[in-house]
Amino acid sequence: MMLRGKRNSALFLMVFFLLSFFVLKVDFAQQVVQEEQNKVPQAEENAEKIVPSPANIKESTGIYIFLAWIWIAIFVLIYILRLKIKEVDRLNNLRFLSVEKK
């Protein structure tokens, strides 16, 4: 009974959606003044493609060192987290076993 109700609701919503393609005629879209649309941007000033990269050798070295430090920090943190996971799992298992015994 419940399933049929859900199916009917889904069918109704689908029909409603499809009908909305053909019945809605209200225009809520904002009408923009034509003069504003015809404005042409001043694109000439920035006519070059910008390919991002470090500005100089100092910046690029700094970035690669930063990246290396990030990965070192990540591996150290993962190592610490692995130890913590082992510890909390062991505690959890002990508690689990003690509950089982009861």
């Binding site: 609701s9 393609f21 019945v23 941007p41 910008i50 990030i70 990540i74 987290l81």
Partner: protein, 358 residues
């Protein structure tokens, strides 16, 4: 007063006012099932991670971005060339968006394949589908903001697609563009959508989605609901949080690396009067739709090809959205047809994406 007493005093002061102990108690008591599909549980939190990164980097970019016709492209150029490490922040923002959408797709597909949307999680699925839509809308609106040739042309194509919908199509296109064509008004409108309207929606949907996940608990693999006592469970805090942290750290590392080595470039400022450049392509997550629309002929019998394509895509989306109501079998049923449809969708997505890149 000792340091410990002072800390306890502050904690109890906040606890009395916010009721924090209820939340911490809930987190301690919350259990995560452990089974062969547990890996999929991490995709949800990965989405949250990338969303948080986007919010933070978005705040940084907004200080320097200027959403006007004359200044949009120049301000992005300044972010990339003058602002210290601005190009990395922009790159992280852009890549985090791609990663987030990729994980939303993976998350939804994993739920589709494991049938976790079935009763009582129908609304969780539907809020997830809405989140996918809002994420895609964020990607679409963000694509125009650099206001270069490619983004302008892609937005023209993208906002022109709804025009094929009968009756309401032209209205939707005008609503998106703020007029008949893509202009400075479209840029302002997209900026408003990108930084205000869509984030509000995403926050509300996330709150609903997370609440439902917490209330209904994690789903179990097919057929495991009946043998619940045999499923091993892990406390959310700290066991699962530590595991999640490992995943988050790895994802952060990958994101930073990709963002540094593959930063997005900036084309020259868009010229509204210039012809569309060659090779207009939307972001990768729209390519399968873009290619689907492209392969439809102009006329099929007496119906407009684009209209038919939009109608079919809409119907597929409705099927996707109402999947929990269509496939409302008991949890232990496999639902092979639905699984097959998921695989067909994956193949279709990959084939169409690759085809549009060729």
């Amino acid at each position: 007063m000792s340091k410990r007493n002072a800390k306890a005093g502050i904690q109890s002061w906040f606890d009395e006012r916010f009721g924090l102990s209820t939340i911490t108690k809930f987190l301690r008591e919350k259990k995560i099932p452990q089974h062969r599909h547990s890996l999929w549980y991490y995709t949800g939190s990965a989405i949250l991670l990338f969303f948080a990164i986007q919010v933070i980097t978005g705040f940084m970019l907004i200080f320097y971005y200027n959403p006007t016709l004359e200044e949009a492209n120049k301000s992005v150029g300044r972010i990339m060339t003058e602002v210290p490490l601005g190009w990395i922040i922009r790159s992280i923002h852009s890549w985090a968006a791609s990663f987030m959408i990729a994980f939303v797709f993976i998350h939804l597909l994993s739920i589709w394949l494991t049938k976790s949307y079935r009763e009582p999680r129908e609304l969780t699925w539907m809020s997830g589908v809405f989140l996918l839509c809002v994420s895609l809308a964020l990607g679409f609106t963000g694509y125009l903001l650099p206001w270069d040739d490619l983004s302008l042309s892609a937005t023209k194509v993208g906002t022109d697609i709804p025009r094929s919908i009968p009756v309401v199509g032209a209205w939707v296109t005008r609503l998106l563009r703020g007029g008949e064509d893509v202009t400075g008004d479209t840029l302002t409108r997209f900026f408003g959508f990108h930084v205000c309207i869509l984030p509000v929606f995403i926050f509300i949907l996330l709150a609903v989605h997370i609440y439902l996940v917490q209330k209904l608990g994690m789903s179990l693999p097919l057929g495991d609901d009946n043998k619940k006592e045999k499923i091993k469970e892990l406390p959310f805090w700290p066991n699962f949080v530590y595991r999640e942290s490992v995943v988050w750290l790895l994802l952060l590392g990958i994101l930073f690396t990709v963002a540094i080595f593959l930063p997005p470039s900036l084309e020259k400022a868009a010229d509204l009067m210039a012809p569309a450049p060659e090779g207009i392509r939307p972001e990768w997550y729209f390519l399968f739709l873009f290619q689907t629309l492209k392969i439809f002929p102009a006329k099929i019998l007496f119906i407009n090809g684009d209209t038919l394509a939009i109608l079919l895509i809409s119907m597929a989306f409705i099927f996707f959205f109402f999947l929990p109501l269509i496939d409302n079998k008991p949890a232990e049923k496999r639902g092979k047809v639905i699984t097959l449809m998921a695989y067909v969708f994956i193949v279709f997505f990959v084939v169409m994406t690759v085809w549009s890149l060729l």
